[in-house]
C-alpha cells in the first residue's frame, strides 16, 4: 500500500463524515429483509429497492461522499499541500486516491446490493449487482475526484448530477440516459444476470465504452488539474 493510499484511507476513516456511509446501505438491506420476510413478491419490491434505492441513490451518494472526501476534503482543510510538496508525479497521487475511493465505495455498496439481490432473486443477481456496482463505483469516483479539482463545490455539483441529471431528467428526457452512469450500471448488471427486475435503457456496448471513457477521461483530467493546482491567493 503506498503512503498516499495509507494517508488517504486514514483520513477517510478518521473523519466523521465516514459515518454517513453507514445508514444508506443499512436501509437497503433492511428493506430487502423486510420485504422478503413479509412475503412480498420480488417483482413488486425488487425494482424499487435494487434500482430505485440501491443503484440510483446508495451507489452515487456513497461514491459522492467518498470520492469528494479523498481529495476535496484535503483541499478544503489545506492538508493537501503536505502531499503536493513531494517530488511525486501527480498520477502517483491521483491513482492511489482513486483506488482507495473506488475500493471503499465498491465494498460499501456491493455488500448490501449482493444481499438484496440474493433476497430478491438469486446469488447470480446478487453477484451481478455487486460487480456492476463496483464498476460504477470506479466511474463515479473518477468523476467526483475530478470535480474536487475543477470546482470549489464538488459535493453540490455532484448532487446536481446525481439528483437532477440522472434522477430527474433521466425520467423525462431519454437522451440524458446515454450520459448516465446509473444507466450503465443497470445495463451491465442486467447483462451479467438477465432478469425482469432490471430494465436496461442503453445498450451493452454503449454502457461499456462510456463507463471506460468516463473512468479514464476524468482520471486524466484530475491528474492534469492537480499538476496546475493553485493554493487560493491569500494575500497577507
Amino acid at each position: 500500500m503506498s503512503t498516499v493510499s495509507w494517508i488517504t484511507a486514514r483520513g477517510l476513516f478518521g473523519r466523521r463524515r465516514f459515518l454517513l456511509l453507514l445508514p444508506l446501505p443499512a436501509l437497503l438491506v433492511l428493506l430487502a429483509v423486510l420485504s422478503r420476510s413479509l412475503g412480498v413478491d420480488p417483482g413488486e419490491w425488487g425494482p424499487a429497492v435494487l434500482v430505485g434505492l440501491g443503484l440510483a441513490v446508495v451507489l452515487p451518494v456513497i461514491a459522492l461522499i467518498v470520492g469528494t472526501g479523498v481529495l476535496g476534503a484535503e483541499i478544503d482543510d489545506g492538508t493537501v499541500v503536505h502531499i503536493l510538496t513531494k517530488p511525486l508525479p501527480r498520477w502517483q497521487i491521483i491513482l492511489p486516491k482513486l483506488a482507495v475511493a473506488a475500493g471503499v465505495t465498491a465494498v460499501t455498496v456491493s455488500v448490501p446490493l449482493y444481499v438484496a439481490g440474493v433476497l430478491a432473486d438469486s446469488v447470480r443477481l446478487g453477484l451481478a449487482l455487486a460487480a456492476a456496482a463496483s464498476i460504477g463505483a470506479l466511474a463515479y469516483c473518477a468523476l467526483f475526484v475530478a470535480l474536487s479539482l475543477v470546482t470549489r463545490r464538488p459535493v453540490l455539483l455532484g448532487l446536481v448530477y446525481v439528483l437532477i441529471w440522472e434522477g430527474l431528467l433521466g425520467n423525462f428526457v431519454s437522451g440524458t440516459k446515454v450520459l448516465s452512469i446509473q444507466q450503465y450500471v443497470i445495463t451491465l448488471a442486467d447483462r451479467f444476470a438477465p432478469t425482469e427486475l432490471l430494465a436496461a435503457d442503453v445498450s451493452v456496448p454503449v454502457a461499456t465504452v462510456m463507463t471506460a471513457l468516463i473512468a479514464v477521461g476524468f482520471t486524466v483530467l484530475a491528474i492534469d488539474r492537480l499538476r496546475s493546482f493553485s493554493v487560493a491567493g491569500e494575500t497577507s
Partner: protein, 318 residues
Amino acid sequence: MTAISADPMPATTRTTSTLNLAGVSRWYGNVVAVNDVSMELGPGVTGLLGPNGAGKTTLLHMMAGFLAPSRGTVTLDGAPTWRNPEVYRRLGLVSEREAVHTFLSAYEFVLASAKMHRLPDPVEATRRAIALVELESAQSRRIGTYSKGMRQRARVAAALVHDPQVLLLDEPFNGMDPRQRLHMMQLLHRLGAAGRTILFSSHILEEVEQVSGTVQVMVAGRLAASGDFRTIRRLMTNRPHVFAIRSTDDRALAVALMAEPSVSGVELDRTGLTVRAGDYGAFTRVLPKVALAGGIRVRQLVPEDESLESVFSYLVEA
C-alpha cells in the same frame, strides 16, 4: 528540554541552491497582488517583511510552485517551480495555514513525508527531523491533541525531513510561545549558517530583526527594499537618523554639533544628547573630530532608530 544537537544536514548533501525571481507579477482580475518583483535568494536566512496584504503569501506560493506567476519567472537553480514537482527534492515549505493531518501522530506524519520523498532511510530521517524541532517526547501522540506551537513544529519537521537546500516558511512563529520561538530562531540560524537558503515571512518586525539581517521588504505588492536592513536605513538619507550620545560635556558637544551641516537637530536632557542627523556617514565622521576639537570625551553613541520597526515605517510612509 533537549538541546539542539542533531546536525541538520547529512554530509552527502552539502550543496547550495539559489531561488531566482525575475520580473514576477501576479494579479487576480484587476487586483495586482505582486508587482514586478525581482530577487535572488542564496544561502543564509532572509526575512520577507511587509504588512498584511502586501503580497508576501502570494510571493511565497509562487516560489513554492503553488501559484503560476501572471508574468515573469520563478526558478530554483534554473528550473521553474511551477508545474515541476521535482523541485521539492530541494525545497521545503511550511505554509501559514495551520493544516495538518490531526488523525496522525507527529511520528507517523513525518515518517509519511520521508516515505513520499523516497528517502533511503525514512526512519532515521524522521528521528533526526523530530529531534531538530524537539518533539521527541510528544511524537507518539495524535497531532490533534497538540498546541498550536507543537503543530507548527511538527509541520517544520515534515518540511525538513528530506533536508532541503531551500526552506520557505510563511509566518513560522505564529502561535509559538517565547521558548519555542527562540528555539525556532536558533534552528533557522543554524540552517542558514550551514548553507541552506531560508526565507521566512513575517509582519512582526522583531522576529525578522532577531533572525535575519537580510530583509526583503514588500509594500503593496512591490519590493520596497532589499538587503541588510541597517544598510537600507542608511541609504534613506532623506530621513533623519537619531543618535543618543553621552559625553563628558553634553552641553558643549550640543553647541559644537549644531554648527555641523549634517546635523539637523539636537535635544539636551538629563540623560544626555539626542542628535538628529540627515547624513549618516557624514555625521559619524564629523562627531569624533568635533569631540576632539572641544576636548570632549564621547562615552556612548547609540543609533536609536535602527530597529526594523523604524525602517519599516519609513518605507511604508514613503
